[in-house]
Symmetry: C2
Subunit: 199 residues, 2 copies
DNA sequence: TATGTTTGTTAGTAATTACTTACATTAGAT
DNA sequence: ATCTAATGTAAGTAATTACTAACAAACATA
């Protein structure tokens, strides 16, 4: 059983390292030799766990595809004021994007290699978010707090603003997140959106 | 002189093809052999025009870096109603993104290879847009049409919504743009934003 | 102790790739 | 007609890469 555990940890060491290197150098730029070296194992061990580099890549995509991000938040946020709720949602969303930063980079840079698979991952992640947020808007509309508007488009608009902000940070940086800038951005974006959707 | 013209067209054929292939397969995935073949020239000719693949890549980035997109629009849009102006801006913005679609894909997928250069290109493009739009908002605030808000953040929020929409299309598709969906999106986003910023 | 599983080491192979050299061909300019 | 610059053809090189084969070491379990 310890044998199995050892094998599992070797496997996950490879997966973690591969995620990082695919994200940093792209699929072709990350060599199996380097992945193995960085993972602290022999190259041949990599091929014993994953029959090919392609398979390893697929497993990375499967392993680190997205978490549900907002669903669990719903029960709490219906109780707090609208503007505060949006701030919580924006923060949680940006946090999730940060947690899966490497995956997002891989998806951007390898969309041409695996269009259908990456599309599926993106879809399953974003659609859940859109629908969760839209259903929150629906609740708020029924309460008479929000005016009438297409909640699905509203959700896309709201999360879209922050997704762009996140991508811009990715472009601009390597200088790490300055939280004050993030907080300011959240405040301003939410403010506009709140006024845009209140009754 | 015809000789020179011929040479120019060879050079641009190479650049065009390289843009396309770098965008489709990434820097490492696009081989000089294939670029030459697709451009209808001999591989050695490519190396006579560009001393290395790296240099070719740099020239592609330089050649197709962004156009000024909104600046020319300003004089006209100050005359038309706010909501119509935003629709025009959104359309023009999406149109520009579409024109430079390949460049955007390259920037996404090769940000790790040329971080400073790509950052510069992104910056020079987006900053001009942000500032142009912000200055439009300033004008509208002085006219008393818009409420007080930080116009730079407003501009980022507005364009961010549509940049995300554009990226989502890129992820989702290969099925080409459905204009009705785009028009609908523009309408809904603009509507929220208008209410969010009016006095 | 004996055994089976996982890993490391070493060496190698076939394919690909960026890039070069040498020489021939084309065609416009003088 | 001749010269020159741009291009093509053919052949090749050195480096890298994904992946394999063979054998030995380590280690857990029975």
């Amino acid at each position: 059983m310890d044998t199995f555990k050892e094998s599992q940890s070797t496997r996950s060491k490879i997966l973690e390292t591969a995620l990082r290197l695919f994200s940093q150098r792209g699929y072709l730029g990350a060599t199996t030799k380097e992945i193995a070296k960085e993972a602290g194992i022999a190259e041949v061990t990599l091929f014993r766990h994953f029959s090919s580099k392609e398979r390893l890549f697929e497993e990375v995509l499967n392993t680190y595809s997205f978490l549900p991000a907002l669903k669990g938040l719903l029960p709490e946020i219906v109780k707090i004021p609208y503007e505060d709720a949006l701030i919580v949602i924006a923060k949680k969303f940006l946090e999730t994007l940060n947690l899966r930063k490497e995956m997002i980079r891989i998806m951007h840079s390898e969309i041409h290699r695996y269009p259908e698979k990456i599309h599926r991952i993106y879809h399953s992640f974003m659609d859940e978010l859109f629908k969760t947020l839209a259903s929150y808007f629906n609740v708020m509309q029924k309460k008479g707090i929000l005016r009438e508007f297409d909640t699905e488009f509203g959700a896309r608009a709201f999360l879209g603003m922050f997704f762009s902000y996140f991508n811009a940070q990715e472009f601009k940086m390597r200088k790490k997140y300055r939280n004050d800038d993030t907080d300011r951005t959240i405040k301003e974006y939410v403010n506009i959106f709140v006024r845009g959707t209140l009754k």
